[in-house]
């Protein structure tokens, strides 16, 4: 064989010829989709990182463990609801946790999920210097961080909604009249979508903000878990000891409860975890403003941090 040309005999003894052409380096003359394509690419990559897609088995363990856990909680609640319906009828269902209670019950798992998974979308790019390669392409630091935030937000929405819909399907399937049940409770669907979005926006923004200030995913995860795990009993205990407005404001700093108050407003019911919270006495308007501040201010800091970022 020379110059890529070869002649061989096939099984029937016939002569066959073939040539391999080295076409060399080819200039690219196809479309260039600019900044829009760059944003979409970073967004898609963020989703893949969050779910461990295209990575080794170890990268899949954490996200899918938490997704399994949260969907599992929804599934167990659905099974219990189905059993209660069959044993005690619709009256039995009223005694069980509803959609409005779900985020209160499972919020700590959502926060830990965000704490351990979201930092991977920002920390590793800065730790390994990959951010240098993003910022020299048709993409600004703000484009990058907004795309990453959006990617985790989409994953968080899925994680927040999936168990609620498992619970909804369980309740429908267990009811003797699923059509009747749905026509009576269809408003649960927009309530689930809205409250899930509120929870996802809150945990995504806080987790991303902390991740923006460290190159180590583990540091961000430990800080975030510590923040939620410590703030919850600390503020709850202190706010019940100190009465009046001071106690109510201390209760406002219970970080786990902030999106659950919004959840209560959306469903028009008070969930178990917030029923005793003194912050409720400050009124829905203030609770909504407080929630918004905890999403918008960290979001603005996050954007500003990446606007100024240079390799």
């Amino acid at each position: 064989m020379s110059d890529g040309h070869a002649t061989t005999l096939d099984e029937a003894g016939r002569t066959t010829e073939g040539t391999v052409f080295d076409i060399g380096y080819q200039r690219y003359s196809g479309p260039r989709e600019g900044r829009h394509r760059a944003r979409v690419a970073v967004f898609k990559d963020g989703i893949r990182i969050a779910l461990g897609i295209g990575r080794g088995g170890r990268a899949k363990i954490l996200p899918w463990t938490f997704i399994g856990l949260l969907v599992g909680i929804g599934f167990i609640l659905a099974l219990v609801a189905g059993a209660a319906l069959r044993i005690a009828g619709p009256e039995g269902l009223e005694q069980l946790p509803t959609h409005s209670d779900f985020y209160g019950i499972a919020s700590i798992f959502f926060f830990v999920f965000a704490a351990v998974v979201a930092p991977d979308l920002l920390c590793s790019d800065r730790r390994h210097g990959v951010i240098n390669l993003y910022l020299v392409r048709p993409l600004t630091g703000v484009d990058y961080v907004v795309a990453r935030w959006s990617a985790f937000m989409v994953v968080a929405l899925g994680v927040a909604w999936a168990p609620q819909f498992v619970l909804l399907v369980g309740r429908l399937m267990g009811h003797p009249d699923p059509g009747g049940y749905f026509s009576e409770n269809w408003t649960d669907v927009p309530h689930i979508l809205l409250s899930g979005a509120a929870l996802a926006a809150y945990m995504t923004t806080l987790a991303m903000l902390v991740a923006a200030f460290t190159k180590r995913r583990a540091y961000a995860a430990v800080f975030l878990v510590g923040l939620f795990v410590i703030s919850t009993p600390f503020t709850a205990g202190l706010s019940t000891e100190i009465e009046g407005p001071v106690g109510q404001w201390i209760s406002m700093f219970n970080l786990s409860n902030i999106p659950v108050h919004v959840n209560d407003m959306i469903f028009g019911e008070v969930s178990g975890v917030t029923s005793e919270a003194p912050a409720r006495e400050l009124g829905n308007t203030l609770l909504l403003v407080w929630y918004s501040a905890w999403v918008l201010i960290p979001g603005a800091i996050l954007v500003e941090r990446y606007r100024r970022l240079t390799p």
């Binding site: 260039r32 990575r55 390994h128 020299v136 392409r137």
Partner: protein, 310 residues
Amino acid sequence: MTPDALIQAVELEKRYGSVVALNGVSFGIHDGITGILGENGAGKSTAIKIFLGLLQPTSGRAIVLGEDASRSVEVRAKLGYMPEHDCLPTRVSAAEFLTHLAEVSGLPPERARTRAADTLRHVGLFEERYRAIGGYSTGMKQRVKLAQALVHDPRIVLLDEPTAGLDPAGREEMLDLVRKTHREFGISILFSSHLMSDVERTCDRIIVLQGGLLVQAGEVTDFTTETETVFVEVDDRADALIAELEARGITVVAEAGGLNLHGTDDSIYDEVRDALVAAGAPLRRMAPRRRALTELFARDGETLVVGGDE
């Protein structure tokens, strides 16, 4: 301003408080391989970051492919950049990483995948493309760094110390790739280095920065023109030849491998011929000597002396 320059620095100045990184430098980068040479802190990386739009100049302008580098984000789609320091993820494969970066440079996903495979083949990593980058050797990682700078087929590539950390063989391979990138792929290169030998062997033109100032710019051949020295190498009887040459009034400087003879005109070749015959020395090589860049930029204490004579 030079109209055909790919990159033009116009009185470019960058200050960090009282520290002057670039002090009003003006130069153009044209088609070909241009070396930007200087010690650490000379302003090389600052200039490159300004060209890439990552830093805003304090004053002056950086015009890249006809657009103001500090204002145009889109122009970066036509630039490639290979940083000096680590910039690679460890858990993904080279194929996946390059496909992703090609998309970030604006290529549609299908085209990005094809370009990633082609580019990895050109840098010699086609067989290894599905392995996680974390398991690559230093030389392979440098090739991935070069590949990511080329994957979107840029008009010009800015290489920041591309041979840093490589052993001699790896360094040679990288310099070959750099030359190939221009000569075969047609992509212009701005090559930053503090290693003059790399620049001399690779670049068509050089720009020398020192302390934020432009101290020299021009064709490499202009700096390495022939000297008034003839280099002679013999197989034997070198001592007899030296004696014959000195007897003819020629100044001889012996160095490893041969003799440097100082002569102002072509008559020295006749003198060497006669001396070789008289000494009975078998001639292996005789040629006018070219200067190496290292001789031009010889250190004088802490100062880089440019353009000094021998």
